[in-house]
């Protein structure tokens, strides 16, 4: 099993979610995060004093999936989150040893 972590622009969340739903992905975790990569922050001005806001607001989407589905999930996320402009985000994949469903105690792929 793999954990697919995607950092995306907040306004693309709806598209990302429906693309994953169409693939039959049954759940995901979304958190509000901030950070920066190539895209720099922005400037805010309060009573004439400028503040550089370095971190940009992003969403982190986490999905655990079967090895067989990894590429499809990645493609779905990337195409849904793609705008072609700087700051579109990143997707990375990590291996997951096991998953347990708390309610039933099922382990591994059955728990997905």
């Amino acid at each position: 099993m793999k954990l697919i972590t995607a950092i995306v622009k907040p306004f693309t969340l709806d598209d990302v979610r429906s693309a994953l739903e169409q693939l039959g992905v049954l759940g995901m975790t979304v958190s509000e995060v901030q950070g920066y990569g190539r895209q720099k922050g922005h400037t805010e001005v309060y009573r004439g004093a400028e503040y550089a806001v370095d971190f940009v607001a992003k969403l982190k989407v986490e999905v655990v999936t079967d090895d067989a589905n990894v590429d499809k999930v990645i493609d779905a996320v990337v195409s849904a989150a793609h705008t072609g402009k700087i700051g579109d985000g990143k997707v990375w994949v990590t291996s997951v040893d096991t998953v347990i469903r708390v309610r039933t105690g099922e382990r591994g792929a059955d728990a997905l």
Binding site: E44, V45, Y46, R47, G48, A49, E50, Y51, A52, V53
Partner: protein, 430 residues
Amino acid sequence: MEGNTAWLLISAALVLLMTPGLAFFYGGMVRSKSVLNMLMMCFGAMGLIGVLWVIYGYSMTYGSDVAGLLGNPFDMLGLSGLMTPEGDPTAGTVDVAFQAMFAIITVALISGAVADRMKFGSWMIFGGLWATIVYFPVAHWVWGDGGWIGELGALDFAGGTAVHINAGAAALGLVLVLGKRVGWPREPMKPHNLPYVMLGAGLLWFGWFGFNAGSAYAADGVAGIAFINTVTATSAAMLGWLLLERIRDGKPTSLGAASGVVAGLVAITPACAYVDTWGALSIGAIAGVLCALAVGLKYRFGYDDSLDVVGVHLVGGLVGTLMLGFVATTSVAPDGTDGLFYGGDVALLGKQAISALAVMVYSGIIAAILGLIIKAINGGRVTREEEINGIDEAEHAESAYDFAGGRGGRAASADSGVAGNAKKLEETKS
């Protein structure tokens, strides 16, 4: 008389509301870790000055004159002789109530300068001493029978010198002694809640109608003039501030709109019953632009006036007080004086400048001396670590916002608080 009494009672309540309004105007501008302390400094002034005022403050301001400098504090100690249903209440109890609110908000105004760092106890001591040594006498100078500024013939309808220059100069004197916040000006200290700031500015504007139009002491035409000028100048000041931001920074900001409103209100305060529409518009517009520029002075000179009490109240107060020397007109106030632009001579401008300078110097110096004394006693400010962690927790043992309801609170000991109550309940049952 009944009509006047009714209007003054309402005005007093309006002016009281300005202090909570100010608390939110200031509170939104600080970081989320200091908002309770900011609110508490304003509310603290309500408690403290409310008590001092009725004991000896009113008497020190309006009691029988001593050498033009102060009223006799023993004249009406504890409001003796005033607590009677006889006579004209606008010269008695209702006057006491109305002017109490002025004393309260003048002290509260200073608190914005020391946000994030001054110990609450030190602030309360400062507030009480400053009111006693500075506000009560200075209000006597301006408004008391025989006060020297009033005798001089300087104009101050509702408190440009006594309230705004006074509080602004005190703020400057105090912060010079107290020192900068940790990290200022390198670290960003941006406002944590601009909607609070806007709400506070709205409440201030609303309350200010009591402040200015109430100062007519009658429900009459003078109150009407003061009222409309409080709209005119304030609107112009907001536009002035926003226009400057649009040109200089590119965007008109909500903080700029709220600040422009307050700058306009401050500037029209001394002038509201003495100027015509053109005078009010020019006072407002000039105050809006000048105050927007003046809030940058602290970066140039290196004093950490946290929320720009100097830039808005001292500068705004000076604009209104000095511009009266140009735009005061007897066509609006037959008992007043004409300014330079309305056929008057330079004497009025001179009187305005003398009164402004005297209040500024006296208040600034005394505030600095009080700050030094407080600093010598207990440092005057929270420790560096407490300041970084947040003064709310250090001084009040509270935090303003708890967005995560389930973050694992528990009773601090088995015998007190929630756990203690549960234990008592168990004992009662058994």
